[in-house]
Amino acid sequence: MSRDASKLGFYLLLAPLLLWLVLLIILPHIGLFVVSVSEKVGVREYEIGLGNYAAFFTEPLYWRTFARTAIMSILATGLTLILGFPIAYYIAKLTKGRTKTTLFLMCMIPFWVSELVRTYGWMILLRESGVFSSFLQYVGLASGPVEMLYNDAAIMVGLVYTSILFMVVPLVTTLDSLDDSLIEAGYDLGGSSFSILREIVIPHAMPGIVSGCIVVFMLSLGNYLTPILLGGKDSLWFTGMIYTQFITRFNWELGSAFGFLLLALSSVLVFVGLKLSRQSLSGTMGR
């Protein structure tokens, strides 16, 4: 086994990684950026300029949709954390053995199923002719069909549903690693349930909280199906706008600028989230 052979082996291993990252990640994003700063001046003639970005900032519909998407995503992330944390804590700390495995599996199964199917389920439940509406009429709480689809609450329900597993799983993992005796020590030293949660449990779960929040935020921000199907045509979600520019309007330059702005937004928020919680990307995601 010569040194040259092991060098060759190294490059053979390196090649697929580089091909993947360069051809499918790096170059496409550079390309996206280049197109986003191109302005069409004639048939197949382009100039470099920031016109597409200017269009974004001058057209209220665009930037308002952008801001709305961001705020709704942050809200969905917060909601998912608040709803998911007690569940994760219950699974990790209050159950054992077979019950624990069963509950964990029950959490997982819905997420192995296509998002489309999950969203379709919510449509059947929430729409005017849906299960909830029929039920309300049946028990006499409503006199006619009730439309619960096509509003922001429906979008929120769908977003939380779609992403809650990605909050619960990392939380269960980190909470599982919290030694019970630390909680007992907290009580023994006179702590209350609340102060123990704040001073011991949450600091310990921080890596899980951060990675859960990042993933949920990314999934909400980049979601297309849920806002379109549950929020209807006027759901005003930024990914929908990107789709419209690319596929319907065929305005790739503006669409690329939108795409780049979305990417920038997500990167900035992920970066801020990591900095605020003093975590690293490799530490939280590379598990």
């Binding site: 005796s181 020590a185 006179g190």
Partner: protein, 368 residues
């Protein structure tokens, strides 16, 4: 100063599904003393300690701390603190925040907390370490932080759950002395559980030996070692040669026993209430046996036997020889005197061994 003992347990029982972990345990721990509960793993000592701390509710019985009943009082409201087996220092906080945790829960203001944290850290010999992270300290230092974290709350009772178990041998020896010194320094009542007899004997004022959920004996380390109350205590604490025997004859002063292997021995009669024909168990400490090169050198010991050295186990001051008894073929472990006499013994040597009837401990046997 009140006269009430710091801790009183009366007929304390803890039952799990089909299993009684703690079985009618009663004891008192006087103020300022060091009390150890010694027992093999699974004897129920951890359950007992966790009941005192409030992490398990007793099935029956009374538990009083400073004369007040603790039944139904949650752990965060009890005047006890606990040093956990693996210390349970909060890894997300630095040393100062760990030690100050309890005071923060009481709502003490920041400057006072800071001052008292420094004070207590200085008392355990770790001044100026409050800014360090937990993983920057050595095992022994963490131990002291764990104690400081409890002592800052000035508890009536400090519970210690085998805190030395995770340390290596050398450090453990050192920490035994240090724990004793810390207890002296703070004057707080310590309740310490361990399966390591030397920890219990070295540090404690009183030791309780526990087995199968019951206390076999409570007494001073000296009594536990020299006057074990039951066969279990005699076998569990210290080394002993153990014989199963049957009573062949008895008189006012002594019992004559025949061991299963066939040799006879004489023990004090008052040790056990035994009649002729009954089974007995005899325990004999290796250091209670005297060696002699010839029969003539033996004076005053009525039990005399001879044997062949089968091995010499040199271990400094704790060196031993193993003998095979000439008549019965039973193995007898004998401590080598520290004077250096008999240091020339080697395998195959013939030698005499003798002991006084008062040195052996005899208990009713199970007939096995």
């Amino acid at each position: 100063m009140t006269d009430a003992p710091d801790l009183v347990c009366r007929d304390l029982v803890k039952e799990f599904d089909q299993f009684r972990a703690v079985d009618h345990v009663s004891f008192e721990v006087p103020q300022g003393s060091f009390f150890s509960i010694l027992g093999p793993s699974g004897c129920g000592k951890t359950t007992l300690l966790r009941m005192i701390a409030g992490f398990q509710a007793p099935s029956d019985g009374e538990l009083l701390i400073k004369g007040k009943s603790m039944i139904g009082v949650p752990p965060n409201k009890r005047p006890v603190s606990m040093v956990f087996q693996h210390l349970a220092l909060f890894p997300t906080m630095n040393i100062g925040d760990n030690v100050g945790f309890g005071l923060r829960q009481r709502g003490v203001n920041r400057t006072d907390i800071k001052k008292r944290v420094e004070e207590v850290l200085a008392r355990v010999g770790l001044p100026g370490t409050s800014g360090r992270r937990v993983d920057q300290l050595s095992g022994g230092q963490r131990q002291r932080v764990a104690i400081a974290r409890c002592m800052i709350l000035e508890p009536d009772l400090l519970l210690l759950d085998e805190p030395l178990g995770a340390l290596d041998l050398k450090l453990r020896e050192h920490m035994k002395l240090e724990l004793k010194a810390l207890q002296h320094e703070f004057g707080t009542t310590f309740v310490y559980i361990t399966h390591d007899q030397s920890e219990a004997l070295v540090m404690s004022d009183n030791v309780a030996v526990m087995n199968h959920g019951r206390f076999e004996q409570i007494g001073s380390p000296h009594d536990i070692y020299y006057k074990p109350a039951t066969a279990f205590v005699a076998g569990f604490v210290g080394d002993a040669n153990r014989f199963s025997a049957r009573v062949k004859g008895s008189s006012e002063e002594s019992l004559i026993l025949e061991t299963e292997a066939g040799s006879t021995m004489e023990v004090e009669a008052k040790m056990a209430d035994l009649n002729v024909g009954q089974h007995a168990q005899v325990f004999l400490r290796p250091e209670a046996i005297e060696l002699a090169k010839s029969k003539e050198q033996i004076t005053g010991n009525s039990n005399v036997t001879s044997g062949t050295v089968t091995s010499v186990l040199f271990n400094g001051a704790n060196s031993m020889v193993a003998l095979r008894e000439t008549g019965s073929g039973a193995t007898l472990n004998v401590a080598l005197p520290q004077t250096g006499a008999f240091s020339d013994l080697s395998e195959g040597d013939e030698i005499f061994a003798s002991w006084h009837p008062t040195k052996a401990r005899c208990y009713p046997g199970d007939g096995a």
